[in-house]
Subunit: 484 residues, 2 copies
């Protein structure tokens, strides 16, 4: 290290500037810590700004189009120009992406976080080397390091390289909407893109290696999602694998495990992600990553050895780099929580783990928080379910969402004068990911059925569904008590 | 009463089948009461189904159009056909309206409520006569009566009758979109229609007799709404009155108090509503209505004499018939609460009055719950405000809402280790009326700033605004404590 600049000392070094990196850095800086952030890309913001926002913007476009249709707005001429390209749709996206990157930068400046643009790697447990092309490396030292370097798409080995075979990053560069496409992988990313492209008029096939979609969802929601995507015309190949791909001049031929062959203009691979840990020189910090390069962490998001479970002193990780759920929302909370633990900042943030909602931006949206019906059964919890349909709700009818519903799961108790404890909330339908927040707060505050009965909801709103689902659950309880 | 059918006895008679009537009847029936409902219209559902749903459906149409614009969806051909009529837009509305009326009917059948179609009026405090055209009247008797007969538009005396002068009921029958129109009255209804027609491409002028819009809103929201509607091109005449209207063959000339003259193709009057009480023969029940025929009630929604404040035994009223806020949401809660009180059904519903949100379906939407900043000042409450803008939020940026914001008001406390108590929530922007519900539950559960910090919000959602507004408020508190 002789000829390099002197080692700079910080209270915290954050590797990566995505949602986890940004919020972790801001949290520590807010409490007076001196923070350095290392980002290898030219822009701050990571995958959230780089690909999630374009993806959601594209989805919003398709949603606006589908809204026009579902609302049966006669008198409105609406047509997609034949020569429409994805880039046309993404005009607005560039503005949004730039704004989000600027916002992250401003937030870091506001918190007086020093930014180092370059590839960061461990020299030892407390030292990070930042390599900037054409410059002398910089060395940073800190007792606390947060790894938030994210993940990248993983491509299966058995598929050839071809410009018409995209992953979830490169798909956003697609020049024109293909007539048809195959999405390989029925996880969150695969499903989200399959829905968006289907609504944009592409004939989509989805190849999924399991027999149910998103098995972590409540079965009712998973089945409803499957019905919906079939109804919108997506060809679903379940319990299927991809054998090989035959590249022709004018088309791609995908051969499945069952022998079926799908001919298509484009393929999108959504076959999992690999954590960005290979450039970190983890051995220098005595860290061993797990499967797919994932860092293994304990309940405080401190990095541990995957086998011995022994924590590595002072080193934390959060976001995509530690694997599922790999959502921006959970990544941010993990990082904030990790910093609270690292710097002993309690009681400013009491918990993160127990009550994390999941938002799935399929069309329709799905969202959940708390326990599923299947989890209640496994844990032998006696429960009551109440449901309310969008098509029985004034606002649901107005927006023409005929398939959406909200499902509440309460713990059964046979004292009619007592409310029932809320266990889980599950929604499929328009703005599901926003509607769920009412349930998140109810779970955080340990609320019961009385909360939804006592709440006055605006009319017409989808929020009212909480009340009617609760009424159904209360009616079921009353009936059951009568029978017992 | 000699030649009429025998008097039928009930535990409850409900006059009117709108939101208040329906929910009051269902609540009592749910607890085993025998309920009769009297409705003079052919359909059940009242104004909510008859005019609110068409109004909101028309608004949804205009919203879908404005979404296409605000999302800058290039590549999409979107144009309104020149000959578009309001009826074109309302095609979908008829389906929704019918479904809502059917839903009310089914709900009443499910609860075994007897329906009497005819005009109900008091014979004495316990007896209602139902007159059905061409039939012998029926007589109903009950110790408890809920009046939920709603209201109708009130027209000012100084304007002539002309087919081009609409009220909020008849406007939905308008044949084609006029080039320009004047909305008289800057209350909720006037503003909602002014926004809808403006987005549909009509050149709208709004005549308002006060200097601020919706003075019950937090001033920040009221001013933001005023800015928004000016920006969308609505000509706002504040502190103005309507003097007279000159009816010409090809146009209407409206003369204002200031002397200004507005020439237009159509006028919509939104100059307040009169309660539907004149056919009730209220004297027979010794009830005197107040101004505009409004029934005066106490905190339990029991009818009282407007001067002596003496309650009328067994007679309750809720919904539009008792005057502001006259929203479907509050009407339902009032009726449920009245029935709980009338039949002593506590503790099934603890309160209704303290925490009622208001949803204003302007474009953009406004919604509020709890105290405004002005109320805090009047009550000498020491408070801290935190705001978060839609254009700093990923989802807000994606949907292109540049003007929306969420404002939280907390009670100041100088112990940094303690959360601050939430006092009020104010939102202007897309889905404001849905977003507010998180704040409603927080107020009901007496939550503090820690709730929003502990909540994990989906990304990207507008719900996140709660967290960032809270951060701002906490930062302001910390700064203030440092200075003190």
């Amino acid at each position: 290290m002789g000829e390099s600049s002197p080692i700079k000392k910080y209270d915290l070094i954050v590797l990566g500037s995505g949602p986890a990196g940004e919020k972790g850095a801001a949290q520590a800086a807010y409490f007076g810590k001196r923070v350095a952030m290392v980002e290898k890309d030219y822009y701050l913001g990571g995958a959230a700004a780089g690909t999630a926002i374009p993806n959601k913007t594209l989805r919003e476009t398709s949603l606006a189009l589908s809204a026009i249709r579902s609302r049966h707005l006669y008198g409105v001429d609406l047509s997609l120009k034949r020569r429409t390209t994805v880039q046309d749709f993404l005009h607005h996206e560039r503005i949004v992406k730039d704004a989000e990157r600027k916002r992250v930068k401003n937030n870091m400046m506001l918190h007086k976080v020093d930014i180092y643009k370059g590839i960061g790697s461990f020299v030892d447990k407390q030292t990070i080397k930042v390599e900037i092309r054409g410059k002398k490396p910089e060395f940073l030292r800190s007792d606390t390091i947060l790894i938030a370097t994210g993940s990248k798409p993983r491509r299966p080995d058995n598929l050839p390289k071809d410009l018409r075979i995209y992953d979830s990053d490169s798909i956003l560069q697609i020049k024109r909407l293909p007539k048809n496409m195959v999405v390989v992988g029925g996880g969150v990313i695969g499903l989200e893109y399959a829905c968006t492209f289907s609504v944009l008029g592409v004939d989509v096939s989805l190849v999924h290696n399991r027999d149910i979609l998103l098995p972590f969802l409540d079965r009712d929601i998973s089945f409803a999602l499957e019905n919906n995507i079939s109804k919108m015309g997506i060809n679903l190949y379940k319990s299927e694998s991809v054998e090989s791909c035959n590249v022709k001049t004018n088309r791609l031929e995908l051969k499945l495990g069952s022998g079926a062959i799908i001919s298509c203009e484009a393929i999108m691979l959504a076959t999992g992600r690999t954590s960005n840990t290979e450039e970190l020189n983890l051995e220098a910090a005595e860290i061993t990553p797990g499967k797919y390069g994932r860092l293994v962490v304990n309940e405080n998001y401190q990095v541990i050895h995957p086998k011995t479970k022994k924590p590595v002193s002072g080193i934390y990780a959060s976001g995509d780099v530690i694997g599922p759920p790999a959502l921006a929302s959970t990544s941010m909370e993990q990082a904030r929580f990790a910093m609270i633990k690292a710097f002993n900042l309690e009681p400013y943030k009491e918990h993160v783990a127990p009550i994390l909602p999941l938002g799935i931006y399929t069309i329709p949206e799905c969202s959940m928080v708390g326990k599923t019906e299947e989890e209640c059964q496994e844990e032998n919890i006696d429960y009551v379910v109440g449901k309310a349909s969008y098509n029985q709700n004034a606002r649901g009818m107005i927006i023409g969402d005929n398939d959406g519903f909200l499902k509440l799961i309460f713990e059964f108790n046979n004292d009619l004068s007592q409310p029932m404890k809320l266990l889980g909330v599950h929604v499929i339908g328009e703005i599901a990911s926003e509607l769920i927040h009412f349930g998140v707060s109810a779970l955080i505050m340990n609320a019961g059925s009385d909360l939804f009965i006592n709440t006055c909801f605006n009319y017409p709103t989808l929020g009212e569904l909480y009340k009617y689902a609760t009424y159904e659950a209360m009616g079921k309880r009353a009936k059951r008590i009568k029978l017992e």
